[in-house]
Symmetry: C2
Subunit: 218 residues, 2 copies
DNA sequence: TTTAATTTTTAGTCTTGTCTAAACTTATGG
DNA sequence: CCATAAGTTTAGACAAGACTAAAAATTAAA
């Protein structure tokens, strides 16, 4: 059995591993979890001992198959709870992360099985992130960053990379959400900003925004 | 803010206080929480320092107003989650306690407010226990133990005193649940056992059963 | 290829919550 | 009313997780 703290470490390392392509550095984990590097060293040594990750001094950490299983299961629970909070309890999509951060640690296989059924086996959470199945499999989805689109290309917003409250509320006020059709009207090479069409209105956005919206172009 | 362990202590002491009428003994808390008396002494001293209970060496503990507020709030959350698990996720009434024991510690006022609304502001949990309101008020209900009924008296089962899996499953197999009408057909003075009528069938029960069923006679 | 900067680990402490063993109070029964 | 039992508290220890300060390894710069 894994503690709340251990689960949080495994989840963080899982996410970092996807970005970094190599071993996950102690510092990166510390930044993500808002702790000190020395605390991370202690924990990864313990987790290595428990065989959920491999670790070599100064070389960083890799999750083992077992570690990935646990991480994806926590992520599955997190995202299912987020769906519950938005779909059933009518929370806004920017309000659910904190609460799901707690709920993801509730221990009961049966609970998650039933929650999943209650929610009609959703494939994505309210931020467009895919929900892993019971075995940790995540079906790959067609999506690119809005910043990768060319002038005059259009697509549907299928997710957000960042999901901070500030960003989500920014999107809310501009009527951008999952499912919204977005067309690139113009791109400015100099600062990577672009003008986009959302419904009837045109909107000028910075590259920071464009780099955090996932688009499906089909 | 109170930790999970502190909340469990406050809840346990709250329940024990209702039974004992005087100060709650260190031993009683230890038994209820499955810990050692020495651990309890440490904790009640800490909680006394935090002003949620009053404690005198060798004299036991009393919750303060503040302590009762926290305890009833945890109980409110526990029971609301139990309703959710049974009403929405279709768990059996004997399967929900363990899970609610974890869920009761999730921290979010808003979550509970919305959960309560989602469940249509229930007054009782699946075991017939009343759900305290946001201020900790519990509306008193008319109920007595089945063992207190006289021969030929009848009433409706409105709750269980014990809620162990064994007992609840015993009731299930005999078609006794919340809302079931029960009539006392006969009482045996010698061993306090009784014969009761449930629907079409008669049933002989021991005093242990009769002492754990709450009945409303109106 | 040394030196300096950065990253990581170790050593030592702390808090929370638990335990055992021993000491101390209170309650009981002769 | 005193001796023993029962209940309770203290003393000392431990595991989990965190932190600070200092040492060591790695990387980058000169
Ligand atoms: Mn978490
Ligand atoms: Mn999400
Ligand atoms: Mn609990
Ligand atoms: Mn209950």
């Amino acid at each position: 059995m894994f503690t709340l703290a251990e689960e949080n470490y495994l989840k963080a390392i899982y996410h970092l591993e996807k970005e970094s392509k190599s071993g996950v550095s102690t510092n990166a984990i510390a930044v993500k979890l808002n702790t000190q590097p020395s605390s991370v060293t202690d924990m990864v040594q313990k987790l290595a001992h428990k065989k959920v990750l491999s670790y070599q001094k100064y070389k960083g950490s890799f999750l083992t198959k077992e570690g990935k299983k646990i991480a994806t299961n926590v992520i599955r629970k997190h995202r299912l709870w987020e769906v519950f909070l938005v779909e059933k309890l009518k929370f806004q999509w920017d309000e659910v992360h904190e609460i799901a951060e707690q709920l993801e640690h509730i221990k009961s296989e049966e609970l998650i099985k039933r929650l999943d059924a209650f929610l009609d086996h959703p494939d994505f959470d309210p931020h467009g992130d895919p929900i892993p199945d019971e075995n940790g499999n995540i079906k790959p989805t067609e999506k690119k960053l809005l910043s990768e689109l060319q002038k005059d290309q259009r697509g549907i917003c299928v997710g957000v990379k960042e999901s901070s409250s500030q960003f989500l509320q920014y999107l809310d006020t501009r009527n951008i959400g999952i499912g919204t059709t977005i067309k690139v009207v113009d791109k400015e090479e100099f600062d990577d900003s672009m003008t986009i069409q959302v419904g009837e209105t045109q909107l000028h956005i910075t590259d920071k925004i464009a780099h955090n919206l996932y688009i499906n172009t089909n």
